[in-house]
């Protein structure tokens, strides 16, 4: 899929100067190398799936171990979270959105999956000194464990969403077949982001605090609490944009906005998700994963020394 020829071989042909330059840039930026790195990254993850699974089940079971309600917290945590937001935005600020609690829940559950993965994943490598300095294993298992743990938690909390839908007499329609696609896109995006952040946080511990705050900011910039359609005229802030342009800007600049919109389409609006923004996120995720594997690979030799 990539030009693997040496740039020198191309340079002998005088008429291909632009091509030569492209090849040099590819070579210099090591894109071909990163491609191989990405495949190796995933292969190692597969080889160590036993470890990945053991660590994931450990996290899942440890999470509510020794608590009285135990597994029920999987449902209670997002529910209580929702109650707070419904109280503020649904009751006190009287959101015009119909069936607001259900609307909110459709976005809140996937958002919790994303935010817990990114915030937890950022420190996943830097916090595991005990493992990294004592045992040899591919370090990408650690961020992958965090993402997988939160993914499973998300899947386990889905019945709660359906239960709430039933209360609003809003049962899932055939559009639920799109769920796996959206799930894969969001997981790939989350994993790619988490790889880079976890690798960089080993050397730059400031990142974990920056990330926690950025995720918080992104939460309010992502249509979780509010409806994208409610974005109105922004010209009074000096922005020369129509309402539609403002929505598109939000949708295409914030990958999570597109993913959230897709979840809403499936569960709340019962329509086929818009392909363009979702496809853009899918491509972005692939690119991010690609680059992140490279970042991770280049840094992982120093993990054991720096944690």
């Amino acid at each position: 899929m990539l030009n693997r020829q040496r740039p020198g071989a191309l340079g002998e042909d005088g008429g291909t100067r632009p091509l030569y330059l492209v090849a040099v840039v590819l070579e210099r930026t090591m894109i071909s190398k990163i491609g191989a790195v990405m495949r190796r990254n995933l292969r190692e993850l597969w080889q160590y799936r036993g470890l990945l699974w053991a660590l994931t089940t450990r996290e899942l079971r440890a999470r509510y171990r020794a608590s009285v309600l135990g597994f029920l917290w999987t449902f209670l945590n997002p529910s209580l979270n929702m109650v707070v937001y419904v109280l503020v935005f649904g009751v006190l600020m009287a959101s015009p959105v119909e069936r607001y609690p259900f609307f909110l829940f459709c976005g809140l559950l996937p958002w919790i999956f994303f935010s817990s993965s990114v915030v937890g994943g950022t420190t996943s490598v830097s916090d595991r000194r005990d493992l990294l300095t004592k045992v040899r294993f591919p370090a990408q298992v650690l961020p992958a464990t965090v993402v997988l743990t939160n993914l499973i938690n998300f899947l386990l909390s889905l019945p709660l969403l359906f239960l709430l839908g039933t209360l609003y007499q809003d049962l899932p329609t055939w559009h639920i077949v799109f769920l796996p696609i959206v799930l894969v896109v969001q997981t790939a995006f989350t994993l790619g982001l988490t790889y880079s952040l976890s690798a960089l946080n080993v050397a730059f511990r400031d990142l974990q605090h920056i990330v926690a705050n950025l995720v918080q900011m992104l939460f309010f910039l992502t249509p979780v609490l509010w409806n994208l359609d409610s974005v109105g005229d922004v010209s009074r802030f000096g922005l020369d944009l129509s309402a539609q342009q403002a929505r598109d800007l939000l949708l295409f600049c914030n990958p999570m906005a597109a993913v959230m919109a897709a979840w809403r389409d499936i569960f709340y609006l019962h329509q086929t998700p818009a392909w363009e923004p979702l496809g853009a996120v899918a491509l972005l995720s692939l690119a991010l994963f690609w680059v992140s594997s490279g970042v991770f690979e280049r840094r992982r030799e120093e993990f054991a020394e720096l944690v």
Binding site: L51, A62, L131, V135, E301
Partner: protein
């Protein structure tokens, strides 16, 4: 050693390892400078004063099925070497080749979770150490039995005593069944009984043809246990070879450093190499061999009798006439001292033999080791010569490592007055 590369378990060629000093890293690299550096695609400039050279030019070949002891001062680079072998660190220079599945006991209980039961932790820890779920299912009962935790195995690990915790961790780690076992100072786990068990387990590993790399400060273990020893000093392999020789040179260097030490001692700065030594002067007397006899047979018998004689013959060569100290020790299979004796005598120049006679061996059945030493008087202890001593089983009812001459008698005064009965005088295993 003229072994082909395939007979080597681990080969290190020109291996060097440098670490960046974290005190300098702070001002040399931040998120911003890194980002700019990546944008400009500049190579990271590493100034030599910012790095610590933990190891340099290490060439080490560890043969298959051998036990190698790695000794050296604190901070000399031993643990770094182990982490390079296991692949936790990658070398800054040189290459490392490993043939076989490697298991490292660098720290016990990696990934143990206090809220989980012992049994659950066996699975998590085992998988972290590289076992598959199927292997673990096969071995979990062995592990539980070895750890001797009883009903506690189904209790959360946080309720364990530290000894129980270590026993469980050790049990899992030693059941990984690797080709190459790397151990960093963890043999001293648990109480006396468990230590015997763990050294028996190590013996099982060694006899099973596994390669063992052992880092320890217990020089006695290196001498008695290892086939080879490597002395790491100041990040280099200072000496490699016969454990006794290496340990002797190491001891000499340490005591010479201690002798020179007055205030600014080289020993007070960790990692610093020990001073170079002049080659040891040739010993005026050396032990050439130690032989065991039973007093009536030519040659060494395969087994000795509890009640029979033991003669220990120490053959020596003396370069000059001097006063020498002979010493003989009998040790149990796990190294415990059972009996020791010594004699200082004049040894005229030439060859000779000193003989220690035990008219009655008085040891229980089993395998023992006889250690013989010879040193000029006022000289430090030298490495011993060893001979194995096997004591045959006897028919009597007696147990324990010692069999002193003994006799039972029962006397009764209750019914029949003046009737004293000698019942069953036993002298075990009387010589035919």
């Amino acid at each position: 050693m003229n072994l082909t590369p395939t007979e080597m378990a681990i080969v290190l060629e020109g291996v060097g390892k440098t670490f960046k000093k974290s005190s300098r890293r702070k001002d040399s690299s931040t998120l911003k400078t890194e980002f700019i550096r990546i944008l400009l695609r500049r190579r990271k400039v590493v100034e030599p004063t910012w790095v610590i050279e933990a190891l340099s030019e290490v060439n080490l070949s560890i043969p298959r099925a051998k036990t190698i002891g790695i000794i050296g001062r604190n901070g000399s680079g031993k643990s770094t070497l182990l982490k390079l072998m296991t692949g936790i660190y990658s070398p800054s220079k040189g290459s490392i080749r490993v043939n076989g599945r490697i298991s490292a006991l660098l720290e016990l209980g990696a990934g143990f979770h206090p809220e989980f039961t012992g049994r659950e932790n066996i699975f998590i820890n085992g998988i972290i150490l590289g076992m598959s779920r199927a292997e673990l299912t096969d071995r979990v009962e062995d592990i539980i039995r070895f750890a001797e935790l009883g009903d506690f195995i189904d209790e959360p690990v946080r309720t364990y005593s530290s000894g129980m915790f270590m026993r469980l961790a050790f049990a899992v780690a030693t059941h990984v069944d690797p080709d190459i076992l790397i151990i960093d100072e963890i043999l001293s786990v648990g109480d006396e009984h468990f230590q015997h068990k763990s050294s028996a387990k190590m013996k099982e590993f060694r006899d099973g043809g596994r390669t063992i790399v052992l880092v320890t400060h217990d020089l006695g273990t290196v001498e008695s246990w290892c086939d080879l020893a490597a002395w790491i000093d100041g990040g280099r392999v200072r000496m490699m070879g016969d454990p006794k020789e290496v340990v002797r040179e190491y001891r000499r260097a340490v005591s010479s450093a201690e002798a020179q030490a007055s205030g600014q001692s080289p020993l007070s700065s960790p990692g610093l190499a020990l001073p170079e030594l002049a080659p040891a002067p040739p010993m005026p007397v050396t032990l050439s061999s130690v032989r065991l006899r039973n007093g009536h047979e030519e040659g060494s018998p395969s087994a000795f009798s509890s009640s029979g004689r033991l003669h220990v013959l120490l053959d020596y060569v003396a370069r000059e006439t001097s006063a020498s100290a002979f010493a003989v020790e009998i040790r149990s299979a796990d190294g415990g001292l059972l009996f020791g004796t010594s004699l200082t005598a004049e040894t005229p120049a030439g060859q000779g033999t000193a003989t220690l006679e035990l008219p009655r061996l008085s040891l229980g059945e089993g395998a023992y080791e006889v250690l013989a030493r010879l040193a000029p008087r006022d000289h430090r202890e030298t490495a011993p010569l060893r001979a194995s001593l096997v004591v045959a089983a006897t028919a009597d009812v007696a147990s324990g490592p010692v069999r002193p001459e003994h006799r039972w008698s029962v006397s009764s005064r209750a019914v029949a007055p003046e009737a004293s009965v000698v019942a069953g005088a036993v002298d075990p295993g009387v010589e035919p």
